[in-house]
Symmetry: C2
Subunit: 346 residues, 2 copies
């Protein structure tokens, strides 16, 4: 099966994914019967291009890294903007990885709606549209008989949505808790060793982990949005980020953080959801947790999610020090899932 | 789709599973289009019975619990032994849950071979046959176009094999480590609080966690067999339990265990596998691990597995205090998988 790929956004994650699939052309072809051809790329500041052939992904990634426009690539036609590209690209799978808009998930949500509406499968690593419009996007994908996948929105490439969907059949998720935001975790760990909040935040920025606007991390918005996605997808809730009872870590000082860690009860920014009827109640805020526990043993950029189910009891999934490659892997794993779903629909 | 079920063994796990599916007849029918009918049950000391109808699973479980023969159930015909039952039962799915034979996995391996050879899908929670005959069983299942599933053999109902098969596509497992045996973990934790080895072992027996012959747990054989199953299935190795470099916890004393825990480096019985070419090297033995780490934070009967992959980095799966219900859930999750695979073969 040949799949034509379109990229909406060609940032760090999309470029790592592009190199990952380019490196594994033979494995994807031999192991999965999957041939890939890139026919469209839309970027915010390097132009939007279409091709009847196969755009060289490495050349496109190098173009972006050199700060050059994609329109210089061989065999491509320039398109004025992203919306125009979605209307005309006729791809099989659209990879949406534009920057997060924490206010309403736009314009990514509209991009995804338009792509799904035109019968294209969509994979996103952007939590905004899923946090604000999951039901609408999911319903449209079902109506159009295409796939909408978003494994990379929570815990990078660690399988969370796929785990519950494919590996926990019949069971129902009744509550969850987790450390879902790397920036705050890195800051808290740094403060435990006596550094100031600002020194730790600077380090998170240097490592490329903090969101463009780190306020979203520090004030618990990122963890809240991820908890919303988890609750809406795994527990059938229909909440928005503003429905979360949310506190961040801005007011914690180093002394308090150090004392908690020294007492074997370090502070972590915890997201919790408790199911109730068809919905869920979500709380995000700093908590003291046991050091020798799944929540307490999370270090650095690691994330952890504890899922409690009716039939399978409690299951914990822990992702150790993820980076860009892990998020790129989420796109790859979603691509394989889209391919499997497309085969089963035939 | 109606599936006819046969039970080889009706011990604690199989009875918990029987009640689980009996409780969820409507959910399985409405949610999965799955109708179940039990047509055969073989036990070691309560007889073997066949039926043209649907054997009442609750009545059969109650029979075993009262120590009565199954031949007293309404509408069943008595069969002389398990092999005869497999030859005649014509079921769609056979649930093999006979007691573990750690020497060669028999007679369970032969039961499974015969069932697969007759074109029946097989689900087992018995690590013996998988540790000793995985390649042979898998090849036969493929030739006969039936399913062979064994999620319950390692970490009870926590998805381990399904996780890698369905949620980590393209990625390759390059090494793993884990705390896979509950009995030794319970004993080590007990010794940390100053109790003797024998007191702790008695507790594990009272909780029904220790294997019938606890030597297999204590000497690391159970952890070794599980590591073999993991390495053979997830890493393509072809090892047998005797290939493991194995040490148990028999020679550890309470003082050493307490001192290690007090120093923040508690002792755990760790199984490790490292891939090499098409095979793997497996070591099982006690190690000092960091308390505030996934391996160190395992308490009570909890298990943990750390999987390192080429594409997705390190992923940890942690099962909190599993009991019989979790192992029963593994059979249910395998049943759903068998059903999905049967549908996709049509």
């Amino acid at each position: 099966m040949e799949l034509r790929l379109a990229f909406i956004g060609l940032g760090n994650v999309a470029r790592a994914f592009a190199r990952m699939i380019d490196d594994r052309r033979d494995q994807l072809s031999d192991g999965y019967g999957l041939k890939l051809r890139t026919t469209a790329i839309a970027t915010g500041s390097h132009g939007c291009v279409l091709s009847d052939g196969d755009i060289d992904l490495r050349a496109a990634a190098a173009c972006v890294e050199r700060g050059e426009p994609l329109t210089g690539l061989p065999g491509v036609a320039a398109i004025s903007d992203t919306s125009g590209l979605i209307d005309r690209c006729e791809a099989d799978v659209v990879f949406e990885t534009t920057p997060l808009n924490p206010t309403d998930g736009e314009p990514a949500a509209t991009y995804i709606l338009n792509a799904l509406g035109r019968g294209m499968n969509v994979v996103t690593a952007n939590k905004g549209p899923v946090a604000f419009a999951y039901r609408r996007l999911k319903a449209l994908a079902e109506r159009k008989r295409v796939s909408f996948r978003f494994e990379g929105t929570v815990m990078d490439g660690a399988p969370v949505f796929n785990l519950v969907e494919y590996c926990l059949p019949v069971a129902r998720v009744i509550r969850f808790s987790g450390v879902l935001n790397s920036t705050t975790n890195l800051i808290l760990a740094g403060m435990e060793s006596g550094r100031t909040f600002d020194e730790c935040l600077d380090e998170a920025r240097r490592l490329g982990i903090a969101e463009t606007n780190a306020d979203y991390d520090i004030d618990g918005w990122d963890a809240a949005a991820k908890a919303i996605v988890l609750a809406n997808v795994l527990m059938g809730a229909d909440l928005r980020p503003n429905d979360v009872d949310r506190a961040g870590i801005r007011d914690l000082d180093s002394r308090e953080t150090q004392a908690a860690a020294a007492a074997g009860r370090p502070l972590r920014l915890i997201a919790r959801a408790e199911g109730s009827g068809d919905g869920a109640k979500i709380v995000v805020g700093p908590e003291r947790v046991a050091a020798a526990s799944p929540l307490g043993s999370v270090r650095g950029t690691s994330n952890v999610l504890i899922i409690e189910t009716d039939l399978m009891g409690e299951l914990v999934i822990f992702e150790t020090n993820p980076g860009i490659e892990q998020t790129a892997y989420a796109l790859l794993s979603d691509l394989i899932r889209v391919h499997e779903e497309a085969k089963s629909r035939r």
